[in-house]
């Protein structure tokens, strides 16, 4: 797509883009990686701590404890989003806050807050998946493909 577009540019446009590129500040890739690793890791550590709490204090099985854990993480993310803090952390942390479940919760909560003004049904209802929608669509598609691959390559099913 990009190379196709580049071809259509006139020589003057190409010359300008080269000039403009030189003035573009670098995107601090290394700093971003380090921050994403740190914050993403901290969020997962917090999740782990919550899960241990459910196991040790309230007697959950390890597998059963993961559901309420995710619930707690979502609630924390929604509260931080509502207080207007989550987007500030995200600017610093980058993918660190976007990848864990808290990022998905933030995507839904922020859209819900924003489009509530346009009404409960068409506003909130119609737009709550505006940011998170693609994740669901392509997540389902990916799950489907993995499912097909599983049927084809799983020796237990194929071999009978």
């Amino acid at each position: 797509m990009v190379s196709k577009k580049k071809k259509k540019l006139t020589p003057v446009q190409q010359e300008y883009q080269e000039l403009a590129k030189k003035r573009e500040p670098s995107k601090f890739t290394f700093k971003n990686l380090y921050r994403a690793f740190l914050v993403g890791g901290l969020i997962c550590l917090l999740g782990q701590a919550v899960q241990q709490m459910f196991i040790h204090w309230w007697g959950f099985e390890e597998k059963a404890a993961s559901n309420p854990t995710v619930g707690v993480m979502i609630i924390i993310s929604v509260i931080l989003t509502s207080l207007g803090v989550y987007d500030k952390i995200a600017q610093w942390a980058g993918a660190g806050t976007a990848v864990p479940v808290t990022g998905f919760a933030n995507a839904m909560a922020s859209a819900a807050i924003e489009y509530r003004r346009e009404g409960l049904v068409l506003g909130l209802g119609g737009s709550i998946f505006k940011v998170a929608g693609p994740v669901i669509v392509f997540g389902s598609l990916a799950a489907f493909c993995v499912g097909i691959a599983y049927i084809i390559f799983d020796p237990n099913i194929v071999g009978g």
């Binding site: 883009q17 403009a20 500040p25 989003t81 990022g103 933030n106 909560a109 922020s110």
Partner: protein, 336 residues
Amino acid sequence: MLKGHQSWVFENKPSIKSKAAIVGPFEGQGPLADDFDIIHGDMYLGQDSWEKAEKALMEETAKMAVQHAGLTEGQIQFFLAGDLMNQIISSSFSARTLSIPYLGLFGACSTSMESLALASYIVNSGGAKYVLSGTCSHNASVEKQFRYPTEYGSQKPPTAQFTVTGAGAVVLSQDGDGPYVTSATIGRVVDMGISDPFNMGAAMAPAAVDTMEAHFRDLQIEPGYYDLIVTGDLSKVGYQIANDLLKKHNIPIHQTTYSDCGMMIYDYGKQNVQAGASGCGCSAVVTYGHLLNRMQRGELNRILVVATGALLSPLSYQQKESIPCIAHAVSIERQK
């Protein structure tokens, strides 16, 4: 009137009779805070949506400019305004409240000087005694329309710009003690193929330089004629590119001080705004607040404001279109 290819010279010297600049809380923390008439502490301005807040901002600023002129809305012949919202609702809805005959304009962030140029033309040609001209923008309403929900945690690249919450308005009159609007250059749409909406400074810089070049050519003057030349909202990245282009085109910009409104309103050290400021309100509040104040104090005699606009829509960039840009220049002088 018409001078050269695309410029107007206003020989009757329309006078800026009054001005008003009102901003939001974040702009109030910046270095120009003292130049604004009101700094709101609440991004919502007591309204229940961002769009209504923006409209309230425009209304309040327009009313204040009229009041400062010692006039009433009924004495103003025309109201020229624009903003960044779809169908320029903030301007049109404030025109409904003001009930002044209205012309709605869209030139994205260049609307501030587009409206001032047209208002000056109308007053200069005797089409009106008083014309009110203003623009507004609101950070959250723009984020909502052009980008993501305001609280969504996405990381902005260092080339991104922060939309100003603010509105600026002036009343132009046939007579007055100045400062005077002396000339204007209407820009061409320039598209250098940049399609990244998070790098609008780079997209707009060629348009700004094109208009500046046209201005100096049409009026047969050099940059040194002005004490200060400012571009609207190129911010750090675009400003550097504009400097490069001016040098490349052999425009002796070193004769004067060249700056950018998008780099003046925020404190880079304390405020996290990436490359700088943008928005209809940016050039409006910096010019009508800060720069006119400096002219009043006698620090500046002649300034040229080149407001830059990126004419994209949320749909056009999703369809991978590049960003067409425009710039309009207006010169303001203290003496006739």
